[in-house]
């Protein structure tokens, strides 16, 4: 049982889960306003790439993260414009956005850095690692919780902030209302499309952060298509968590833990293929128990009728 209680296993989980969690929170906000954002994968990829670009040109980590946020924002505006203004099918727009992100990042990788496949530079500085003063000294907890990048802590704070924002503030209620029943919300004078734009923008910021953590926090490099399905996993986490920030956090953690565990299990006699399957199988099993309570259905219905 020792391997399950190893502190480094949980520390890895926390680090791996942050990009997924941040993107999933963005997906959750979009789902709450009735936009099922399949483009998370692409937005995170854009964030990851532009973080590296920002880092390369400014040499400043903070500026790099800001640049990642701005680039993701631009693409989320595109997503918003297509799906809110032009009423295009959100799922189709999301898929197209993923293609665009993959093509553009790979193309720019060639155009800017003149390399193919991956960009790595040993002079690049990654996100700093923060030690938390008191917690650091607690034996097991310190090893798990301390020494992560600021974005890891930010993601934890954001979960709580978003939970309070969605369920305890007036704006949050308006946001929920415009997703649940746009017509009723409109009749109360809520500007539904403005709120939808707001949600999409928030999603862009979160995906930018997720990308920055991916390329500057976990590693300090960019590889073609480095999100490798994380955006889709975030989508799953959004759905499993029923678009509820706390639920999203729980389901992302479940997935991250399974991921870290599967890496750990590779040391044993099991073939790696099966250990790598574990997170996906567990997620499907978890979906059996946590059915979505209609938010996705609602989103799906709304885009079906617009076709």
């Amino acid at each position: 049982m020792d391997i399950f209680l190893d502190a480094s296993l949980f520390a890895t989980t926390l680090r791996m889960v942050t990009p997924i969690l941040l993107a999933a929170l963005g997906g959750a906000i979009c789902a709450r306003v009735g936009l099922f954002n399949v483009g998370l994968e692409g937005l995170v990829l854009i964030g990851a790439f532009s973080a590296i670009v920002g880092n390369h040109f400014t040499g400043n980590v903070f500026a790099a993260v800001m640049f990642a946020i701005v680039c993701s924002l631009v693409f989320s505006i595109l997503f918003g414009f297509m799906s809110i203004q032009l009423k295009a099918n959100v799922i189709v727009v999301g898929i197209a956005l993923n293609f665009l992100a993959l093509g553009l990042t790979t193309f720019s990788l060639r155009a800017i850095f003149d390399v193919k496949g991956a960009y790595y530079n040993k002079d690049m500085v990654g996100l700093p690692k923060w030690d938390i003063p008191v917690i650091k000294d607690i034996p097991w907890v310190g090893d798990v919780l301390s020494g992560h990048s600021p974005l890891v802590y930010l993601s934890i704070v954001l979960v709580i902030v978003l939970q309070l924002f969605l369920f305890k503030t007036v704006t949050g209620f308006r946001l929920l209302a415009s997703g649940e029943n746009p017509t009723a919300a409109k009749s109360l004078g809520i500007k539904v499309s403005r709120i939808q734009y707001g949600a999409v923008l928030m999603c862009g910021v979160l995906c930018g952060l997720a990308g920055a953590q991916l390329s500057l926090g976990n590693v300090t490099m960019f590889t073609e298509g480095m999100t490798s399905g994380r955006g889709f996993i975030a989508l799953v986490a959004t759905m499993l968590g029923q678009s509820n920030p706390l639920g999203v956090a729980a389901s992302s953690l479940l997935f991250g833990f399974m991921d870290a565990l599967s890496i750990r299990l590779q040391g044993f006699a099991l073939p790696t293929h099966f250990t790598m399957m574990l997170p996906y199988i567990v997620t499907i099993a978890a979906m059996l128990f946590f059915k979505d309570k209609g938010y996705m259905q609602e989103a799906r219905k709304s885009n079906e009728s617009s076709r």
């Binding site: 009423k87 665009l100 093509g103 790979t106 799953v236 059915k291």
Partner: protein, 349 residues
């Protein structure tokens, strides 16, 4: 006359999209400092420049057409089947295994392999449909997750139990198929094979099926207006299983013809790396789920890809220009829904 105008209008949108896509590509080309005319010239040559390149494009289009048809059927029924990749991989694996290990005459093995490919792809897809119909699990999500499971499973099978141990290379692949079960090449020395004929026939059959049969009408109704369909007595759960099975079957067939016509063995990653599944989905989106249109769009996308490769061989412009063009195409085409949406709104008021 009216019909002609309607036809023209249906064609106008894709043509406009292609122009916008090429314009976006031109911007990308000029950013890296290439000559636009010359680069597009190389691209054209790489895709259609000679008979060899043309057949090369058709051979690449073959799996894309089949996958696109499957996805188109599911889309028409209102289901987002994102699991073509896993369905294709499982279809390819079972076709390879059947063709290698089944005893009997060659024609029997060939037919059995094709059927095995269709059935295993179909069952994998219908499984996702069943999870949705029975447990209300979101189809889009389950099909995505099942992709990973299928590719990992196939990877395991060819890395351990059925690994080719005869060659010196330690690649994860099955042994070579016997030459008698290979799908014949259409022209000697060219890469296009019998699978292309199968794909073309499938496109026509699916078109006729959707248009002229009761089941086809029910599927279209289910996608177009689910409430009306259920009022008219269409059982969503049953239709979901059937259409997902056929949809996955097409994807399985795509994998099968790749194995029987091009690679002659199942190689781990040989089907997933070129991104056939996503190209198929793109073709469907471009053609608005029309079966014949999907086939044409698939050839277009394959041409963009093979053309991009030719371009990269002969100029300094990277291959990825093609993917930018493809993505812009789809973004632009997706706005089509809007165009008809606005018109409907105006007509209503």
């Amino acid at each position: 006359m009216d019909k002609l105008v309607q036809f023209g209008r249906a064609l106008l949108q894709p043509l406009l999209a292609i122009i916008v896509g090429l314009a976006a590509g031109a911007i990308a080309i000029s950013i890296v400092g290439g000559s636009i005319v010359e680069t597009y010239g190389e691209m054209w040559k790489g895709a259609f420049g000679s008979f060899y390149f043309f057949t090369n494009t058709l051979s690449r289009a073959t799996p894309i057409i089949l996958i696109g048809l499957g996805v188109a059927l599911a889309f028409r029924a209102g289901f987002f089947n994102m699991g073509s990749e896993g369905q294709m991989v499982l279809g390819a694996l079972s076709a390879a295994v059947t063709a290698i290990y089944l005893p009997g005459p060659a024609w029997f093995k060939l037919i059995a392999a094709i059927i095995a490919g269709i059935i295993s792809g179909g069952i994998w897809s219908a499984f996702a449909g069943w999870l949705d119909a029975r447990f209300r699990m979101n189809l889009l999500i389950t099909t995505l997750l099942l992709n990973y499971i299928a590719t990992l499973f196939a990877g395991y099978i060819v890395s351990y139990p059925l690994k080719d141990k005869t060659g010196s290379a330690a690649m994860a692949q099955t042994v070579m198929l016997d030459q008698s079960v290979w799908l014949p090449k259409l022209f000697k020395g060219m890469s296009v094979h019998g699978g292309f004929i199968i794909a073309a026939v499938c496109a026509i059959l699916l078109f006729l099926f959707m248009r002229y049969t009761v089941k086809g009408y029910e599927i279209r109704m289910l996608g177009g207006n689910p409430l009306f369909a259920s009022y008219g007595g269409v059982q969503r759960g049953k239709m979901m299983l059937i259409s997902m099975f056929v949809s996955g079957g097409f994807a399985g067939l795509a994998g099968t013809v790749e194995v029987l016509g091009t690679q002659y063995r199942y190689i781990d990653g040989a089907l997933t790396t070129p991104g056939y599944a996503w190209s198929g989905i793109m073709a469907t989106l471009l053609a608005g789920s029309h079966p014949l249109g999907t086939a044409v769009a698939a050839i277009l996308i394959a041409a963009l890809q093979t053309g991009g490769m030719g371009m990269e061989r002969n100029t300094d412009v990277p291959l990825e220009v093609s993917s930018i063009i493809q993505a812009v195409l789809i973004l632009f085409v997706s706005a089509k829904f809007t165009y008809s949406f606005i018109k409907r709104k105006k007509a209503g008021s």
